[in-house]
């Protein structure tokens, strides 16, 4: 039986390799790694919440998340009220926007999606987590006058949203080069060759990356506010089950030792 299973696994891995190898070749840029340590950094999460409310929440709602849930990030209800509520919302309400979706569609060509679970929805098994995507996306905007908004993005080509954080990052252009396609010599590829800073922003490059990291940490947290509790409880449950398994194992053995 063990031999059978071993044969099975070998054959299987061979089969999978054959198929996945045949179709490995995707488009789009690689995603940068989101700095995960920000998920346990309350100051970063709070800063992310502030950036979110100031820059995102004008057009994007987070209609499943309540303002007072931000108490989980170490804020008091009074702090939430005085720093994050601007238009007379109640602290127990969810993060809605007054933007009319129809108008938004006319202005941007697309309705700004709700951001409550955006970090969960953008994951890709092959490319990385949703946070990785968002972290890359918000750092790869560049000026492109061929687009209606004047902006384009490497992670999301022809994105409808202009660069909302441009004041922080400053304006950047992107350099492209035409390179011969190694697979097909009759074609050339449009290859990205780096950014150039056109106008300075209020943050330098490192500070901007850090600010985006905070914002993405907040989005990741908002996607599943119970995540930290889930991990904590999970450890306890597994500890209990490991002990329980030992008892179950010995109980089983003590009954079965009589069976001849």
């Amino acid at each position: 039986m063990k031999k059978l299973i071993a044969t099975l696994l070998t054959a299987l891995s061979l089969g999978m390799g054959l198929v996945s190898g045949a179709q490995a070749a995707g488009g789009g840029i690689e995603w940068d790694k989101f700095p995960k340590e920000k998920m346990t950094d309350m100051a970063a999460l709070q800063n992310g919440a502030k950036l979110f409310v100031n820059y995102c929440l004008n057009c994007h709602a987070a209609a499943f998340n309540r303002y007072n849930r931000l108490r989980d990030l170490g804020l008091t209800e009074a702090q939430i009220k005085s720093n994050l509520l601007f238009a007379g919302e109640k602290v127990g309400e969810t993060m809605k926007v007054s933007l009319d979706p129809k108008q938004a569609k006319d202005w941007f060509g697309a309705t700004p999606p709700d951001l409550t679970v955006i970090a969960r929805s953008r994951a890709d098994g092959a490319k990385g987590s949703g946070a990785d995507y968002l972290y890359t996306y918000l750092r790869t905007y560049y000026r492109d006058e061929t687009k209606a908004t004047g902006w384009n993005n490497l992670a999301f080509p022809s994105v409808a949203m202009p660069h909302v954080l441009w004041e922080l990052q400053g304006q950047r252009g992107a350099k492209f080069e035409e390179v011969a396609d190694p697979h097909d010599h009759s074609k050339t590829m449009h290859v990205f060759k780096g950014f150039e800073q056109l106008t300075p922003g209020t943050l330098d490059a490192r500070a901007y990356d850090s600010a985006v990291g905070d914002l993405v940490a907040y989005l990741q947290w908002m996607g599943e506010p119970a995540q930290a509790q889930r991990f904590r409880l999970g450890v306890l449950v597994l500890l209990f089950l490991s002990v329980f398994t030992v008892f179950a194992w010995r109980l089983n053995a003590s009954y079965w030792k009589d069976v001849k």
Binding site: L4, T7, L8, A11, L12, G15, M16, L18, V19, S20, A22, Q23, A63, F64, N65, R66, R69, P113, D114, T116, V117, I118, R120, S121, R122, A123, D124, G125, G130, G223, E224, P225, A226, R230, F231, L233, G234, V235, V237, L238, L241, S242, F244, T245, A248, W249, L251, N252, A253, Y255, W256, K257, V259, K260
Partner: protein
């Protein structure tokens, strides 16, 4: 006719008196004895035998968590997605209940597939256990319906488009297809009506049938007794028994297999809770990333794939292209020719074979390949029901089959897993080709079983089960 009233012995405690009172009105002690304390199960079960009771545990998890989910879920196209997020955020412990339910769905298929494979290799479907197997296949079918309809309820993009694609398949049925699809959806596209009826089926209709089948499955099993890895009958007329008539190769289910199953359950729960608490999405396989985007009827996702447990069958559907239909026509033609040349039956029967084969080829070519894809997908499940009559091997268990049978089973499993993998991936030329070979092997495995299972020399089956004391 009422049985004689029993009296509790003098000086009996209150508990015993109560039990006597109940036993005079309801067979409580009798049921307990028949199904637990005096249900003798073979003592040589190996670890393949834990998946039946695990399936029962997962069923209970699904029902209990489902009851609590329904308390907060709203089966309404405008509210469904938000109500799931409400459960995840605002309902106390809602996230835990929801993750248990979503992980439980996948866990159910994991244990059921392993349970079915156990039955397959040890011949647990063979006489006298045909009905145990058939009820089991019914459970599997219900489970698929339950999972498919439950998957629509979160009303995410994958929920919506998965349902749209699968329901549209029914439209390929000749003549009645479009009406059939309309009947299932209750609308011209998947919408609020679809969501409501799927909810109704998911929480009431299918679970009722499922529970009935589970009871029938267990009653039938306890009537004929469990098979075991040796395929040796422990309760047959020739099997050795003790003075009380209990089989020497059996042990009472309780306590021996209850403590056994508690041990197995605790190991299973370690895996299950690890997923619930540390990887509830399981890399996008248990909860698909796309399903965190609310359903949008105007935006078709680039790649629509069913959840992993359907993908072997989905692969077979996709493999049924026009080329595949031509291959099937060729196979049927060759089969008919072979029957006419080699068959040891009369001229009339041979003519009938030819006529049936010609009719089959005609139908294959006249209807759309898409329809035959649906037939292949459905047939892949339906064929399981016939397994007890397809297997003509003189021995039950794989242990005593000729060695090369083990390789046939291995290739079968490999193809099933590869089909599952391919069903998740976007279609490619080579992938489709492999899926077509896999589909042919899957059906060949079952349809040719009456012949190949008889081939080769089986090993000697022992009189008693092989058992090594722990």
């Amino acid at each position: 006719m009422a049985a004689e009233f029993k009296e509790a012995p003098a000086g009996a405690g209150a508990g015993e008196k109560l039990l006597t009172w109940v036993d005079n009105r309801f067979p409580a002690s009798k049921l307990y004895k028949e199904h637990l304390s005096e249900y003798y199960a073979p003592k040589n079960f190996n670890w393949w035998y834990i998946f039946g009771s695990l399936a029962l545990v997962v069923l209970v998890i699904q029902i209990v968590t489902g009851i609590f989910l329904v308390m907060h879920y709203k089966p309404d196209a405008t509210l469904a997605f938000a109500s799931v997020e409400y459960i995840m955020r605002d309902v106390p412990w809602g996230w835990l209940i929801r993750y248990m339910h979503s992980t439980g769905a996948s866990a159910f298929f994991v244990v059921v597939y392993l349970h079915m494979f156990r039955g397959l290799i040890y011949g647990s479907y063979r006489k006298p256990r045909e009905l145990v197997w058939i009820f089991g296949c019914g459970i599997f079918l219900c489970l698929m319906a339950e999972a498919f309809m439950g998957y629509l309820l979160p009303w995410g993009q994958m929920s919506y488009w998965g349902a749209q694609v699968i329901v549209n398949l029914f439209a390929a049925v000749p003549f009645v297809g479009p009406d059939l699809a309309l009947l299932i959806r209750g609308d011209f596209v998947v919408g609020d009506a679809t969501l409501n009826r799927f909810f109704s089926f998911h929480v009431i209709a299918v679970p009722l049938v499922l529970l009935g089948l589970v009871v029938a499955h267990i009653i039938a099993l306890h009537e004929v007794g469990s098979n075991n890895p040796d395929g040796v009958e422990i309760k047959g007329p020739k099997a050795p028994k003790d003075a009380k008539g209990h089989p020497l190769d059996g042990v009472p289910f309780h306590p021996y297999y209850t403590v056994h199953d508690i041990y197995a359950l605790s190991l299973f729960l370690i895996v299950f809770t690890s997923i619930v608490f540390f990887a509830p999405e399981l890399g996008g396989y248990f909860l698909e990333y796309n399903n965190f985007i609310p359903a949008d009827p105007l935006k078709t996702p680039a790649h629509i794939a069913p959840v992993w447990y359907f993908t072997p069958f989905y692969s077979m559907l996709r493999a049924t292209t026009d080329t595949m239909v031509n291959v099937l026509v060729g196979i049927i033609g060759l089969g008919a020719l072979l029957a006419v040349i080699k068959g040891s039956f009369g001229g009339k029967a041979k003519l009938a074979v030819l006529v049936i084969a010609a009719a089959a080829c005609f139908l294959l070519k006249i209807f759309d390949a898409k329809f035959w894809g649906v037939v292949v997908m459905g047939g892949a499940v339906v064929i399981l029901f016939f397994l007890p009559w397809l297997d003509h091997s003189p021995v039950k268990s794989i242990r005593y089959r000729p060695d090369w049978h083990k390789y046939v089973y291995t290739v079968f499993v490999v193809f099933f897993l590869v089909l599952g993998y391919l069903g998740i991936q976007p279609p490619t030329d080579i992938g489709t080709l492999i899926a077509q070979v896999g589909t042919l092997f899957y059906f060949g495995f079952f349809l040719l079983m009456p012949w190949w299972s008889k081939l080769g020399t089986p090993k000697a089956v022992p009189d008693r089960v092989t058992f090594h004391a722990h």
